[in-house]
Symmetry: C2
Subunit: 216 residues, 2 copies
């Protein structure tokens, strides 16, 4: 039995469990996003700003994926939003099965928006469906404008691109227009937001997009 | 046959080929480093500054690993240093076998310093020995000061930490002392450099370290 066969079997099994998750989200009218990026692009900070804006308007639940530590779940819990931490113990991506286990601790009946924050990795999480409605890929301007062409799968499989740390552009060798052009070349239907968690730029537009997709 | 067994077998096989690479490096007195980091931390830029400083002093060869594109090899070749590009086509890390194939195009007899630039990924490359003398992990200050605790394997398996984009600290919420403390907690023997490819800070110290390790 070749490794390739095993990998295909792992992905097939993952897709089956992802579909069960999706069925549960649909049955409970929960809008679910899977937030993916490199380490340190600002996923958790965007989530903090999002929760600050939407708390009181929407009932949000969060599943945090990390290789190690429950730092991120603690940051979210500090905002009085229920957060379940998945520690992968070296695993480089979340799988549908891990999310399914975590869902035992999520009140889907009450939740309107479920945010799954994936492990910081711009490669492997691209291939694993978790049952989400959309993958949202975050890229920091500090990573440069060439990331979509160098890591195309993630941009191809995402519906939304958040270009974060937009406030740092004056200090960087990053052309945002080139970054957007590169991303749209890979995936012309990407919805793009430009954000800064420091200045708050773009967070309102991003939150409006989320609100417009919530179905209950 | 379980997936765990397959993974262990893959790693064992990888280690065997890595040892062959290492034997070849030793036989030819080539000092080899494996540079690892998140996407966009500045691996290629550091390499460009390093080559500018050391060209004429040392004979350098480069193996570039990327998920897609040969952009990085072209950046290195522009500096008149031989660069071999490995495109993993979606693969999230370099393996010893891929490096072994690439070595067919590297003149080890002449090379004094071989730099292998891995795929941008702070998780998976940690587990794959390529035959290098040292793993060098690069972290950008823009990624925040908590990365060592969130991705400990990479810091545990590296000998050197380069903290890059040090010039951006005034604009960031990143405490470099905390970052160093976190890294040394995981691996107390880490040799740490602080660099900026924009101002050139720290590049001389890093290059001196490389020079002191070259053996022919």
């Amino acid at each position: 039995m070749s490794v390739i066969t095993i990998e295909r079997k792992v992905l097939e099994k993952n897709d089956q469990i992802a579909q069960k998750n999706r069925d549960d989200f649909d049955a409970n009218k929960v809008f679910t996003i899977n937030v993916v990026s490199s380490p340190g692009s600002g996923k958790t900070s965007i989530l903090e700003r999002t929760i600050e804006r939407l708390k009181g308007k929407l009932i949000i639940s969060v599943i945090e994926g990390d290789v190690q530590t429950d730092n991120d779940a603690r940051r979210i819990s500090a905002l009085d939003v229920p957060a379940v931490q998945i520690v992968t113990n070296g695993g480089c991506h979340l799988e549908a099965r891990l999310v399914r286990d975590a869902l035992e601790n999520v009140d889907l009946d009450k939740t309107q928006l479920l945010v799954i924050e994936n492990v910081g990795n711009l490669v492997c999480p691209a291939n694993y469906d978790l049952g989400e409605a959309h993958k949202v890929v975050v890229v920091s301007t500090t990573e440069g404008d060439d990331k979509p062409v160098k890591y195309p799968n993630m941009f191809r499989n995402s519906s939304v691109l958040i270009i974060n740390k937009i406030d740092l552009v004056p200090y960087l060798n990053c052309n945002v227009e080139t970054l957007k052009k590169n991303a749209l070349q890979i995936n012309p239907s990407l919805k793009i937001f430009e954000t800064s968690c420091t200045t708050g730029e773009g967070i309102d537009e991003w939150c409006s997009w989320l609100e417009s997709h919530v179905v209950k």
